[in-house]
């Protein structure tokens, strides 16, 4: 049983690493606020997803619906109430929570593949509704945007009507762009990670793991498993809602594509790639996928020609033609290959790889310690 003290060490390291990310990520070209913020937001999404999938084993294939709900709610909060991001984030989480209660209550009547399909169906339904019937709320294909004529009741009451042009999002006067935007998300990530850590180490978390291991036994052990699953589902949905509303804080725009199944699939990939059910794994998955997406999707044929310039022309053309399929728009092909390799050779994700390597190193250092000792006794 891990000690409480160790967890505080984990928290301290995590906090320090998150807050100094602009420094240590700049050597690999990821030290700019846009990408950092993306890391933090998807980090929150994946941490939340892992609370459901990692602890209970219930694979939701429609988690992006909460991302979308969070975004729409945040933008509505900007439009109707105030440009302050705090209410936007809080309402985004709450609204996602409401949706999660509803979707979770219905989907959790089934388990395994049926649960996954139900969540997928709800997400696709929401996606289609956002494009059609709900256009007054979602603004359809254009996406929900700020306009000059938005009421912004609280801001109007505070400042009077003196707006020229679109206002920008703030946190009590601090503009949420660039590094301030990143740090706002970073603080949310740290809090989110802390809560996730507490859940993993709590009796509640242990019960969720037991449900994953043997749900039937749980019932005969005296637990009503349904409310446990629903609670985990709602917490997980609220994390996604938080992530969705954070997406809207630097760029106050919400579109239905955020709820598409590909977005739901992405968080599944991230979590499995990093290591399902581990605390840090999903974050590693996010880091890897978002970093390589950034690099690979920016590459084009010109860049490839430059990279392979040393090859003879005919070979260069062939290599570029093949590699070209894997970059730019074809980045998803690379992701697919990477994902297959991980699932086939490291089913526990990157975290399992790290565990294996550290086990191997420990084994070697033990051997190294034993070898001189054996020599010493042999010498006598």
């Amino acid at each position: 049983m891990p000690l409480l003290k160790n967890d505080w060490v984990v928290m301290a390291i995590f906090t320090a690493a998150t807050l100094t990310a602009p420094l240590w990520l700049s050597p690999i070209g990821a030290g700019y606020p846009d990408l950092l913020q993306k890391f933090a937001i998807f980090g929150i999404f994946a941490i939340g997803f892992n609370i459901l999938f990692g602890l209970t084993g219930y694979l939701s294939f429609g988690h992006a619906v909460f991302l979308g709900v969070g975004s729409y709610t945040a933008v509505w909060s900007f439009k109707l109430l105030t440009m302050n991001v705090l209410p936007a984030v809080i309402f985004g989480m709450l609204m996602a929570g409401v949706f999660a209660v509803f979707i979770g209550y219905l989907s959790l009547r089934r388990s395994g593949i049926y649960f996954s399909i139900l969540t997928l169906a709800f997400a696709q339904m929401s996606y289609n509704l956002a494009y059609s019937v709900l256009t007054p709320i979602t603004n359809g294909e254009t996406g929900l945007q700020l306009t000059i004529n938005d009421p912004r009741i609280l801001d109007a009451a505070a400042e009077g009507v003196a707006a020229t042009g679109l206002p920008s999002t703030t946190l009590f006067g601090i503009e949420m762009s660039g590094y301030s935007g990143f740090y706002f998300c970073a603080v949310a990530l740290i809090i989110g990670f802390f809560i996730s850590l507490r859940i993993f180490r709590s009796p509640f978390g242990l019960k969720l793991k037991a449900i994953k291991s043997n749900q039937t036994r749980m019932k005969y052990t005296g637990f009503n498993t349904r409310p446990y699953l629903l609670t985990a589902f709602v917490i997980s949905g609220m994390y996604a809602g938080l992530a969705g509303s954070l997406m809207a804080i630097t760029d106050p725009l919400a579109g239905a594509e955020r709820m598409q199944w590909t977005a739901s699939g992405e968080v599944v990939l991230m979590t499995i790639l990093g290591g399902t059910g581990t605390l840090v794994g999903p974050l590693l998955g996010v880091g890897i996928i978002k970093y390589f997406e950034n690099i690979f999707s920016a590459l084009n044929d010109n860049a490839l020609h430059q990279a392979f310039a040393i090859l003879p022309d005919w070979l260069e053309n062939i290599v570029v033609a093949i590699a070209g399929e894997f970059v730019g728009e074809g980045w998803h092909l690379t992701l697919g290959v990477l994902f297959m390799l991980i699932v086939i050779f490291l089913p526990g994700g990157v975290m399992e790889g790290i565990r294996r390597i550290s086990g191997w190193i420990r084994g070697r250092s033990r051997q190294a310690e034993q070898a001189p000792a054996a020599e010493a006794t042999g010498g006598e």
Binding site: M1, P2, L3, L4, D7, I195, R198, I199, R201, S202, P203, F204, G205, L206, K207, K209, A210, K212, S213, N214, T216, R217, M218, K219, Y220, T221, G222, F223, N224, P227, Y228, T231, I235
Partner: protein, 254 residues
């Protein structure tokens, strides 16, 4: 009959399609006693246990536990009423550690059917942990507490399941063939253990094939054959009952 009746099974009938699995079962289990249910394969022993524990609903009849009808209650409600079952094939949490396997039922006892204690650290639940360790040591599993439960031997898994049942301090423990698949010395160890539990006054129902186990433990024996109770009495009465010898033991001497 003297003593309190803990469990009263009244006129229970159960059919599966054309098969009459249980026919007009009447049983009374006395407090503090170990009641063995024996019978040939397919006699309906496990069906009867499943009816008691809420896994199956009988066609007719009632199962009263401490005066309350259990029929129609959910498995977790029956557990909290104080009736706990130990399964025949080990039903454990294979992905958790041995200690965690016992802590989970201990938590059920403390937290009830649902409690949202997500921000409380497990490490501060020292009482739960101490209790689990105590029960595990009692069953000779002390050295395994940090082992992965799924990788234990079958005999150890069965003992672990017993620990999971005992940590809840049930008022009635239902044991489905507690020694099946165990080596002789493990069987003897389990008998000793169950005897010790009996001294503490826990009421038990045991389904068992091994006559050595039955006659070492039982205060009372009911014999089930083809879904009916054909004999009910003290071990001595059962031993001398010609009907039992014929139906169950093929005339062999006990």
């Amino acid at each position: 009959m003297s003593g309190n009746i803990v469990l009263r099974i009244k006129n229970v009938d159960k059919t599966f399609g054309g098969l009459h699995a249980l026919g007009d079962i009447n049983l009374e289990i006395e407090e503090g006693k170990t009641h063995a249910i024996i019978g040939p394969n397919g006699a309906g022993k496990s069906t009867l246990l499943n009816v008691c524990i809420g896994r199956l609903e009988p066609d007719t009849g009632t199962v009263e536990f401490e005066g309350k009808n259990m029929i129609g209650m959910k498995p977790h409600e029956i557990n909290h009423a104080g009736m706990v079952r130990v399964f025949q094939t080990p039903e454990i949490f294979p992905d958790l550690s041995v200690l965690e396997n016992v802590m989970v039922p201990a938590l059920a006892k403390r937290d009830g059917v649902f409690k949202f204690n997500a921000l409380r650290s497990m490490a501060s639940n020292t009482d739960i942990e101490a209790e689990a360790v105590h029960v595990l040591k009692d069953l000779g599993l002390g050295e395994y507490i940090h082992h992965h439960a799924g990788s234990m031997s079958r005999g150890d898994k069965r003992r672990l399941e017993l620990a999971m049942g005992l940590v809840q301090h049930p008022r009635l423990l239902l044991l489905d063939e507690p020694t099946a698949g165990m080596a002789r010395h493990d069987t003897n160890r389990t008998i000793d253990l169950l005897k010790r539990i009996k001294e503490r006054g826990m009421t038990k129902i045991i389904i068992e094939h091994d006559m050595h186990v039955v006659f070492s433990l039982a205060d009372r024996i009911s014999v089930l054959a083809q879904g009916r109770i054909i004999a009910d009495g003290t071990p001595d009465e059962i031993r001398g009952n010609p009907k039992v010898q014929e139906a169950y033991l093929g005339g062999a001497e006990l």
